[in-house]
């Protein structure tokens, strides 16, 4: 096959290996504490990273009005008034990226007040990424290996 095709085939394989390699990196479990400040309409820090199995503690502080905190996937919530904090304690047993959202109407952009908690390794992402990449590679190969094409690629 032609040179550009060879290069592309190698790139695909390298990326697939990279994805698989990252997937296998594992981290030690520990306790993690986050002080999250809520202000219209975002959180600080807005992205928190923990490892699967970590014991996570969150202290929610409101800097202006009554804000809430609901964690997708875990279904737990708390809220904070200015001067009155909220707290959460849980084990991050589900891997993936989960959105935490404000659960108390705090202003017009309330439905968009979100942050992310990433529980690594983000196996959900790597799995789908791997599937997409795998399909791409298969599509590439079947293009050149089959005589008559009716399937994808």
């Amino acid at each position: 096959m032609s040179a550009p095709s060879k290069i592309i085939k190698i790139c695909f394989l390298l990326s697939t290996f990279y994805f698989l390699f990252s997937f296998w990196n594992s981290f030690a479990q520990s306790e993690k504490f986050f002080e999250i400040r809520a202000k219209k309409f975002s959180y600080t820090p807005n992205i928190i990273r923990v490892n699967k199995g970590d014991l996570v503690r969150i202290r929610l502080i409101s800097e202006d009005v009554h804000h809430g905190f609901f964690l997708d996937g875990y279904g737990i919530r708390t809220s904070a008034h200015p001067g009155q904090e909220g707290s959460l304690k849980f084990v991050a047993d589900k891997p993936g990226r989960f959105t935490f959202r404000c659960s108390v109407t705090c202003g017009e952009f309330h439905p968009y007040m979100v942050g992310y908690m990433i529980v690594g390794p983000n196996s959900r992402f790597w799995m789908y990424g791997g599937i997409v990449l795998g399909i791409g590679v298969i599509a590439f190969l079947t293009t050149f290996l089959c005589k008559k094409q009716n399937v994808q690629g």
Binding site: V65, H81, P82, V104, C106, G107
Partner: protein
């Protein structure tokens, strides 16, 4: 030509549009007549503070005027984007309320069985001026 069917179609159109608009406001009007209804708008002191309107149709800032001896229905409407609260310690509010969320209307009833002036205030931190978000109910 289907004259009758055309008439039905036009009637449905009018039903869906004009009749809907008229009904919506008529139903609301009727609901408000059954009690001594007062509309109370919740605003933080930065935006004007409480303001109410009763049967006299006049907006009263930081005051609510109700007649003695009547059952009062208070429509507390939060037109802002933060939560407010409401407390009226001298009367029994039914149902007991704490928070009125943004865009919400909370209805409370109470019996105006005491004459005089009584304080009411916001019970949810809503702004830097929250401590000054208060008013007076006058029963006469």
């Amino acid at each position: 030509m289907n004259k009758n069917k055309e008439r039905i179609a036009v009637a449905l159109m009018i039903l869906a549009t004009v009749v809907t608009i008229v009904s919506v406001f008529a139903i609301e009007n009727f609901k408000r007549k059954q009690f001594y209804t007062v509309e109370l708008i919740a605003r933080s002191p930065l935006n004007g503070n409480w303001i109410s309107r009763g049967k006299d149709g006049i907006w009263h800032p930081r005051k609510i005027y109700v007649p003695y001896g009547k059952e009062v229905k208070l429509y507390i409407r939060n037109i802002e984007t933060v939560s407010h609260g409401f407390a009226l310690p001298d009367f029994n509010l039914d149902p007991p309320i704490n928070e009125i969320k943004a865009g919400e209307v909370v209805i409370v009833k109470f019996m105006a069985d005491k004459k005089g002036a009584f304080p009411f205030f916001c019970t949810v931190w809503c702004s830097n001026e929250h401590m000054h978000m208060s008013g007076e109910i006058v029963v006469e």
